[in-house]
């Protein structure tokens, strides 16, 4: 065999090997479904290029009232790992999992997090002239505390390691690096809120998505809606909120990226306040927005609160 032919053979075999390697790597990507965008970001931070991610409820969308598409069920059917928040946050999930027939492992990422009880303990549904109370004892918005977000990340790393042993060193390494970023973020948010004069740390939002933020960083949030955007605010809720704003001297009213701002605009108007901007509660922004990752989301919320509440 001539030298040239040998070289051609070696080159050909190398190319074939690389193609095979690429194919195997592509096939081995862990198929992950995240129920909403914030969890999707956590999953991407931990999984990097080794996972194939499908996020069900995308940027600026409201998981409380989401209606799944056939494509979501198809992604679930293929999934190795399904990452959920749990605590009844994703009302659509049970039926979607059933429709998909998925055999992927479903993980509730709030497992092990420091969970707040809902002081109201649930919400009402109204049928004609009567009301029905539904118990929902826990507040699901746990990611609004960075300390809890770290638990989500640790749970994701464990789930990925269990499902893909070979990828575990990478997942662990990514998770450690990201947890360090979250530590810094926690300090940064704390400092931004500490800069607000104590008497001005009261804000109004449209639904109770920020109680973990309140608990962790010391801003009080008032809201006309409860823990879910599904149960609508009543005239009585709004009237009581206006009283609360006056009593507690709320210094800012904020829209939420997942909600129609009309209600909070009306509240701001009645309370003699102006709308202070948009906070990101249950979803990231679009990629070109100010909160396209969890870190940006928390940073944006902290600086927006700090800027508006601290100013006269």
């Amino acid at each position: 065999m001539s030298r040239a032919r040998k070289l051609a053979l070696v080159a050909g075999l190398t190319l074939l090997w690389l193609q095979l390697l690429f194919t195997v790597q592509a096939e081995e990507r862990l198929k992950v479904v995240a129920t909403f965008s914030i969890i999707g970001d956590f999953a991407q931070q931990v999984g990097g290029e080794r996972i194939e991610l499908h996020t069900i409820v995308g940027p600026n969308a409201d998981a409380h009232v989401y209606e799944p598409r056939p494509a979501d069920a198809m992604a679930l059917a293929r999934a190795d790992v399904v990452l959920t928040n749990g605590l009844m946050f994703e009302g659509f999930l049970t039926r979607l999992i059933e429709a998909s027939g998925t055999t992927g492992k479903t993980i509730a990422l709030t497992e092990g997090a420091d969970i707040l009880r809902d002081p109201e303990g649930g919400h009402y549904h109204f049928y004609g002239d009567h009301a029905v109370f539904h118990e929902a004892p826990f507040d699901p918005h746990a990611w609004q505390s960075v300390a809890n977000a770290k638990v989500y990340v640790e749970n994701i790393a464990s789930a990925f390691c269990e499902a893909d042993e070979n990828g575990c060193p990478l997942y662990t390494q990514n998770a450690i690096a990201y947890l360090a970023i979250l530590d810094d973020l926690h300090k940064e948010v704390g400092q931004a809120i500490a800069a607000i004069p104590e008497g001005r740390r009261v804000a109004v939002v449209s639904h109770h998505a920020f109680r973990y933020f309140e608990d962790e960083y010391g801003v009080v949030f008032l809201a006309p809606q409860g823990l879910s955007t599904e149960a609508e605010a009543t005239a009585a809720d709004v009237a009581s909120l206006i009283d609360g704003i006056r009593e507690q001297r709320a210094a800012g009213v904020f829209a939420e990226n997942i909600s129609n701002p009309r209600l909070v605009e009306q509240i701001a108007d009645e309370a003699g306040l102006t709308l202070g901007g948009t906070l990101y509660s249950d979803a990231l922004s679009a990629p070109d927005g100010p909160a396209s990752t969890y870190v940006e989301l928390m940073r944006h919320n902290a600086t927006t609160l700090s800027r508006v509440l601290a100013s006269d």
Partner: protein, 433 residues
Amino acid sequence: MGRKPLSLTISLLVAGLASGSAQAHDDEATAWRLFIADHSEPVVHVFDAVEGKPLASFDIHGPASLYRSHNGEAVFAVQGSSDVVTAMATGIAFHDHGDHADIEIGEPRLTGTEIEGEYPVHFVEHQGHWAAFFDKEGVARIFRERDALAGSVEIREVDAGVPHHGVVVPYGDYDLVSEPHPEDPSNLPIGIRVQDRDGNQVGDLAECPDLHGEAATGNLMAFACATGLLIVRSSEGEPAIEHLPYADTLPEGKATTLVGGRGLQYFLGNYGPSSVVLIDPSEEEAFRLIQLPTRRVHFAVDPIRARYAYVFTEDGQLHQLDVLGGEITQSLRLTGPYSMDGHWRDPRPRVTVAGESVVVTDPLEGKLHLVDAASFEKTGELEVEDTPFSIVAVGGTGVVHDHDHGHGHDHDHDHDHDHDHDHDHDHDHDHSH
């Protein structure tokens, strides 16, 4: 106006229907009811689908197409040839919240509400409001379901201009109104205009040549046109309409009947005589065509097993359609042939889903066929006198709340709960003109 109990014989009671017992757990109950209109007699029969027994029969004015409301509290009999829509309370109110459900069970009854007008055909619900469009007047009469159940409605009229085969959808503070064909209103409408409550048009006409067929799935609405679908989304409380053209890959054709998915957001439509089309407006490839072995008679979605829909074809077969795979997964012969030759309103089978059973009317044999939805095997038949035709089912499994003890809450307000709004109906006629 209860009718004398009919001598309805139950030839075989079905494991499938009976499998959901009336009281499943401590405070949980399962109840399903079938409402069946006759093809030529002015009557609606009500069956307890769990027990397989007749519950009631109601005299109405003429043959009817039946429509159920989203929460199942009301069934309406649209009697085109008798110029009236009659409201019935099903006695069952089912509220599905995804992670849990509530159910209330009482007696079925005529509520006393009747909406009169010349030739009602298209009948549409949106968030607890219904619009009956009276073709020979070109007027829609809109009322609240809650009032219809209470027996006294306040009617709001929307005048579409001229008599035509039209539709109006009450959409919050707006109405979506069909635009009649400008040269010949006996042709199908040419689009949808948005009107405010004063009747002023908002924005441009959304063009939709040969408009016929509408449905809702979750918070999406769609109208079928010769060129594609009009998709209506709520944009900060206002309707935002977008045209979704048929894909180039589809053969020549159009949809004229749509139903909306329950539990999954999609539309299922007819497309040509021997196929159906699955439509997911959020996908780049929004249309998936499914060929059928013969011409299609009727189709329905499964509100419980969201993955499936059912299509009945003229060779007497019921087909299970996998919405995810986009293919027919099982077929079962149930009836003799029902040719699609002849008039669109000739008596032919209709399909609905009641709990664990798919139920198919067999008008010429005077019976219902019951098919277990899980195994897709026939489990029994119910005999119904005369010519059972249009059929809807209401019910579910949910928690029964005792309103007298403990759950009452002093919310002094008028609260419209934002349910989504698809409904079963059998208005399945092709308009080829």
